[in-house]
Amino acid sequence: MERDRRHLPFRLGVLRYGAVAVFAALGVTFWLLQVPSHQMYLEMAENNHQRTLMLRAPRGMLFDRDGRVLVENRDAFSISLVREHTKDLDDTLRRLSTVVGVDEQELRSLVARRRREPRYRPIELVPDASPAQLAAVLSRRLDFPDVIVEQVPTRRYPADDMAAHVFGYVGQVTEDQLTRQQFGEVRPGSIVGQAGLEFSHNALLMGRDGARRVVVNSLGREIETVGELPPEQGRRVMLTVDLDLQRAAEEGFRALGFWGAAVVLDPRNGEVLSMVSLPAYDPNRFVSGIDRATWSDLNTDPLRPLQNRAIQGRYSPGSTFKIAVAVAALEEGIATPDFRVTCRGAAVFYGRPFQCHLKGGHGSVDMRHAIEKSCNVYFYTLGNMVGIDRLHKWSTALGLGVRTGIDLPHEVEGLMPSSEWKRRRMGERWYPGETISVAIGQGQVSVTPISLAVMMATIANGGTRYVPHLLKAVDEGRGWTSVTPPAPAAIVPMRPDHVSALRDGLWLVVNGAGTGRRGQIPGRDVGGKTGTAQVISIEGGKRAAGRTDKDLRDHGWFVFFAPASAPEIAGVVFAEHSEHGYLAAPIAKHVMETYFAKKEGRPLPPVPVPPPVVVAEVAAAAPRLPGEPNE
């Protein structure tokens, strides 16, 4: 018993100092965690409970020149995943795919694409969700603590694909665009313009995305907002486009059953009043990410709906090119408007016969009447006298074979051959015989519809080649401020008497015995010129294989301005496979009638009715109206 008592105080002491030692160790441990490592853990805790949500800025609205809304925004709802709170990603995606009816594989690849981003950043899985999808997800909130619904301002484009190529479309910035910093400082997932005005004026339209810093609990539920940087909407932009003229042009094409392109300009300043390219696409299908199937359909469609034919289509100008030949001959002093040539239905140049389209010939014609009748022999002769290089010089000055510089992306240039071009391209000299075909717009020469519109506007205004443009005014927050138009691309030195002679000839085309009588508007002095772009001769027989007859028929051109004495409106209509330029003229007529009716406050004209006779299947059987000879 005594021995035990001796042991007790000692062992109690062991316990006592043991306890002190352990508590000292605990104290040191907490000190290490809370003082030297404090900053690190504090940051980890911050990330735990605060989250930054992106607030997408609504893009700037687009208005027509009268202030009517063209492109606006609507609120869409997207379903997104926040992986931070995901326990089992596979399971979540599997369940979500059945709930919203989206292919699981697709969801998986969406997540995989952005797997390297921070886990708290939402990944959009179902953009622009349908009410049914939203209801399905919201009613299962407890099953999906890691799925959130975000309200996102989204683009709304007009119905019927109107002016689709002008507006373009928006889409998520691509990885490639991010690495090239094409849009400056944008974050992954940002919506940027991918085509059309949306692309070229993205900086103006995009605005600045805002952000909201929120406190979330461990289930990801928002508890409170800590700070908010409100999004800044993009600028309101007024376009030069006139909604009525745009509609009129598109109606015209639909009424007559043609695909094609049209560009209508104000020749006094280069403003684009209307730009059409058909068939078009619905830009609304792009706003929240286009699905793969639709995209590949659009891309592989032989009608190429994604192409803006007005600025990206290259076609043989046909007889419309005769205007450029006339300008070159006049301004080089080679011919006067009174220069006459006798047409006998054909002529021989460099040992080879060249046909005129009127078998019996036009007889003796001066320049005005040669334009009116579109006499090939007259322009063979002029072209031969001018030569390819001077032709190149003047047609280039008028804007053919070069980009117009319109504020739309991916404009292409046509081709205006020259002896130097041929040497460079083929290593061969230019044969004078080749000039004869070029003189009537055949052969190597090709143009874009917009470049022909610019040529017409330049002649209409007496020689100023404006850069066509789409921006009229921008609202920087204090009402509309006019946008300084781009400086003219060139001043073409044309003598006024030459210009009026050209105008006379072009007036005769529409109002005399010419090919453009379907563009005639009584009392409006429309000037114009038809043209035919041969499909077969350019593309060659290889394309004939497997095509229907309609595919092989020529394209028709109609270039125009009005009124001829002091033009206010100028442009081009290009009707695919319409075979004859005069069949494109009613579209231009409808646009011009709309323009004048609007200007004078009269009711807008009705949609033109299709021609009474259906265009025949094959070229040989085409109906020929009296006074409308083939070109």
Partner: protein, 366 residues
């Protein structure tokens, strides 16, 4: 039975420290269960407050009854507790996959908490009455039988955490009762040998995964390792002075599960900082040291053994829980005595401090 002069021998420092810790606990339960949206405190706070009241009553009873009278009846108390534990196993209230409680209508009683006191009483009485104390292997094995019966009954609930806290109670008493150093060494060797065997046969999968997770928390960052990582973040983000009372984000936004229970100390460290940690660690150490003083001053071996048994179980649980709160021990359902939410634990702990005060108070009586 109770003499007025005994009041002057009550260790008011120990009593004050115990009350202070319970006060900290109540404050932290208030903070962690406060419903910001409704602007009211959770029902756990009121339950805990009642438990403190009941516990003080239990403390008073354990103080006025001479511990020797209690120890004389320790075998009866032991058998009663064993029957209660058996009852729990058969008819107890199930919650969270375990059957640990007896429904008393007003609240659920957890007999395993009181089993600790019963074991301390019984084992202390056994070694105190034994002429050789804990020196003989035969006696040790016999006394270990008391431990084993309770441990098995409690582990079957299952409540391995509480079952494990019985071991330091037994070892603590055996140690001061003269357990041979050589035998202590053998026990350590045996534990080392038994560990792999237990790993292979005795542990359930969730128990294994807890230990695995502790060794490599990143492996299961969303599951069990999540709690460990979050515990460390919670403590570390508190810093020197803390984020302020009820200003903690980790606990308030439920990144830590059962913040008012197992992880209450993490939240204390977050909201009150290292300063709060030092104060509370100091209070706990003060309680332990003052209790060991009571053992030293005890009039007889019984008193000393009883105090050591109670304080060993208490210390083990405090140290383990605080280590776990810092994310430095496997997550286990071991609460922090006097602080964590839990009525039975609070009542039993206060009752055991009643006994400790009792031993010191009666050091001069016969």
């Amino acid at each position: 039975m109770f003499e007025r002069r005994l009041i002057s021998h009550v260790d008011w420092v120990l009593f004050g420290a115990v009350l202070a810790i319970a006060g900290f606990g109540l404050a932290m339960i208030y903070s962690t269960t406060f419903d910001v949206i409704r602007g009211t405190v959770g029902p756990q706070f009121w339950t805990q407050l009642y438990a403190v009241g009941l516990g003080l009553f239990a403390l008073l009873i354990c103080l006025v009854v001479d511990y020797r009278r209690l120890a004389e009846r320790s075998l009866a108390i032991y058998i009663a507790l064993a029957l209660l534990l058996l009852y729990v196993l058969l008819f107890g209230v199930t919650a969270g996959g375990a059957r640990r409680w007896i429904n008393l209508g007003v609240f659920n009683l957890q007999p395993s908490e009181f089993a600790k006191i019963a074991l301390a009483l019984t084992v202390a009485m056994f070694f105190a009455e034994n002429r050789h104390g804990a020196r003989e292997v035969r006696d040790l094995l016999f006394a270990a039988g008391f431990l084993l019966v309770f441990a098995v009954l409690i582990a079957r609930e299952p409540d391995l955490g509480t079952a494990v806290t019985l071991v330091p109670i037994f070892l603590g008493i055996a140690f001061v009762a003269g357990l041979r150093t050589r035998f202590l060494a053998w026990l350590i060797v045996l534990a080392l040998v038994a560990a792999p065997v237990a790993w292979a046969f005795a542990l359930k999968d969730y128990q294994k995964s807890r230990i695995e997770t502790f060794l490599d928390p990143e492996k299961d960052a969303q599951g069990a390792g999540y709690q460990q990582i979050q515990a460390r973040i919670t403590v570390g983000s508190g810093g020197l002075t803390g984020k302020g009372y009820m200003q903690g984000t980790q606990g308030q936004f439920k990144f830590l599960p059962v913040a008012h229970n197992d992880f209450i100390y993490s939240v204390l460290a977050e909201e009150l900082g290292f300063v709060g940690v030092l104060v509370t660690l100091g209070l706990y150490l003060l309680v332990i040291v003052r209790a060991l003083d009571a053992a030293k001053l005890a009039k007889d071996r019984l008193g000393a053994y009883l105090v050591v048994g109670l304080v060993s179980g208490f210390s083990f649980q405090v140290i383990y829980n605080i280590t776990m709160s810092a994310g430095l021990a496997p997550v286990k359902g071991l609460t922090l005595p006097l602080m964590s939410y839990g009525g039975s634990s609070m009542i039993a702990t206060l009752a055991s401090f009643g006994l400790i005060l009792n031993v010191r108070m009666r050091r001069f009586t016969n």
